[in-house]
């Protein structure tokens, strides 16, 4: 029997015509990729908080309460292409993890953040398993192909 090869596509949350950045959810039959379904299940205010973080990142506003990345000095630079968006409802925190890439061949400065997985937690520290998963997705050839196809001719 042939193994089922997961299919991937991007569901754009912010406009891909933005001059600098955009955000998309990775959608797949692969169960590990659940950022979109987790986001859709959020309560109204929590969702608004996460969306505010999307806006801030897209518009270049650094605000660690809403989103942040990791620089080369952390985790030996292993996660410097990863990014997290944050939400909070009561005492439980919500996180959406993704990776950043430059999909436009005509504009290498343009940045896309692809959201792949999520977590709920009570502590502030990031669980590296989410980040490792994001890095794995970033290096997945089929996902890279799906990203390129979404930006064909751009």
């Amino acid at each position: 029997m042939c193994p089922i090869i997961p299919q991937y596509r991007l569901d754009f949350f912010t406009c891909k015509d933005h001059p600098n950045r955009c955000i998309a959810f990775l959608v797949s039959s692969d169960n590990e990729i659940e950022a979109l379904s987790a986001f859709e299940r959020l309560k109204d205010n929590e969702k608004r908080g996460v969306q505010t973080g999307f806006d801030y990142w897209r518009d270049g506003y650094n605000n660690k309460k809403r989103h942040h990345g990791w620089d080369k000095s952390e985790f030996q630079g292993k996660y410097c292409n990863c990014h997290v968006f944050k939400g909070k409802e009561s005492n439980v925190q919500f996180r959406l993890y993704g990776f950043k890439c430059h999909p436009k061949t005509s504009d290498r400065s343009f940045e896309l953040c692809v959201l792949v997985n999520s977590a709920r937690k009570k502590r502030n520290e990031s669980d590296v398993s989410n980040l490792n998963n994001a890095v794995e997705m970033m290096n997945n050839y089929a996902i890279q192909k799906a990203i390129s196809e979404s930006f064909l001719g751009e």
Binding site: F12, C15, H18, D44, N45, R48, G49, Q51, T52, D55, Y56, D59, Y61, N63, K65, R66, K88
Partner: protein, 175 residues
């Protein structure tokens, strides 16, 4: 084209713009090294209420916004603008953008100051164009008095190694 999430409801829009304000408040608290406890004390409200205000921007009244700003020795303005985004594809412009532009314009307090700052900018642009014209042509010593005195000429910076503009309304081209 997809509309921005703030277009879906007024509550969404309110949440976003008050979030911008809360971000500014938190930044100010950080710069003053002020805790939520202290803010609660200064506002004469409970710590729980402060936490609620900071974490649930959709539920903050304009009166609370003013109180918060005043407690931190800040002021608030409500700004309406037209950014040609009629269908709200891009969402509201982040408040910080307006704040930084205002600060970069020399923090004008009234429309007279805005006009003056516009004139200074125009003079600086004229001077810079003059510099480029000179750069293209001759190598010579030139002294040029700035029409507005020394205040704006300090904004100039060296265009390249051979060409320098100094504060104090003196412009020099080195041979």
């Amino acid at each position: 084209m997809n509309e921005h999430w703030t277009e879906k409801s007024e509550i969404n829009f309110l949440f976003r713009i008050v979030s911008d304000f809360i971000s500014q408040i938190e930044k100010k608290m950080e710069s003053l090294n002020m805790s939520q406890d202290q803010l609660a004390k200064d506002l004469h409200i409970s710590k729980g209420r402060v936490s609620q205000v900071l974490n649930n921007p959709g539920n903050v009244s304009l009166r609370t916004v003013i109180k918060l700003a005043k407690t931190l020795k800040m002021k608030v303005s409500i700004i309406a603008y037209d950014d040609n985004d009629f269908n709200n594809i891009n969402g509201p412009i982040i408040s910080e953008v307006f704040k930084i532009c205002w600060e970069n314009a020399g923090k004008p307090h009234d429309l007279f100051s805005v006009q003056k700052s516009g004139e200074l900018e125009q003079s600086a642009t004229n001077m810079l164009n003059f510099c480029y014209d000179l750069e293209k042509g001759k190598n010579q010593w030139i002294y040029q008095n700035g029409p507005m005195g020394g205040a704006y000429s300090a904004q100039f910076f060296p265009i390249n190694n051979d060409f320098k503009a100094f504060p104090g309304s003196l412009l020099r081209v080195f041979d």
